[in-house]
Symmetry: C2
DNA sequence: TCGTTTACGTAAACAGTTTATGTAAACCAT
DNA sequence: ATGGTTTACATAAACTGTTTACGTAAACGA
């Protein structure tokens, strides 16, 4: 109530979602969409919320680009679900994107006068 | 030649430009647009490129929101330029945005299994 | 006087979110 | 068996903030 507005802003995940997905699959072999979303939420202690409207388009992009591969199977809860794995190309892309992310955040840190000066 | 394509990607600055501007003004008192852009480029050792098409809209947003204040003066090179200062509201917003940025990057770091586990 | 630099400005295209809905099947309780 | 909840995927519209590409105008130097 009162004025507990939640400004979503420009998108808290912007740019990072793809690395997060690729890395999750690299660490866990095979996961379906909602499992990936839960994993990211849990590992970030609820800081990163992966909305389904961002999740599925991202998975489709990555599969179209050949960075991940999906197959239809049955989930633990007995529903049909698409299980993804990272490909060799995906691992390469992941390494590159990890470096880019580190370089970018280090650069911002420098400008902001934070750690890693 | 060959294949030296430069993929700009989704927007290297996405989300961070506003904090970077506010912080620059907090550290340097008074600057005009291009000075801010140069400062960010230099301090990041050329990693962060602030395009004018992102810079000016951002400055206008911030001024409209009352986070910065601008005045027309003459620059060192004798051109008319808009000199900005951060406001009290801007400083508050900066503190909040700094915290958000740290929280966000720490969360991503955790999920990616990097430092600050 | 012509080309370059400084400084600001903006519009169109693009990308990746958020928000809101929808489908469908499985499960549970009544 | 029926109705409500959960699981899982899907997509469209709205939004935001970039990138790319121009355009203006004045100052400066050759």
């Amino acid at each position: 109530m009162t004025t507990t507005e939640r400004k979503a802003g420009a998108g808290a995940l912007y740019g990072t979602l793809e690395v997060l997905i690729l890395n999750s699959l690299k660490d866990h072999g095979t996961l379906h969409g909602l499992e990936i979303a839960r994993l990211i939420r849990d590992r970030s202690e609820d800081v990163l919320q992966v909305e389904e409207g961002a999740l599925y388009p991202a998975l489709h992009r990555l599969e179209r680009q050949g960075l991940i591969e999906g197959e239809w199977h049955i989930s633990e809860k007995r529903r049909r679900a698409r299980f993804y794995q990272i490909t060799a190309t995906g691992k390469k892309a992941l390494r590159r994107e990890l470096q880019d992310w580190i370089q970018h955040t280090d650069a911002v840190s420098k400008v902001l006068g934070l750690r890693k000066a």
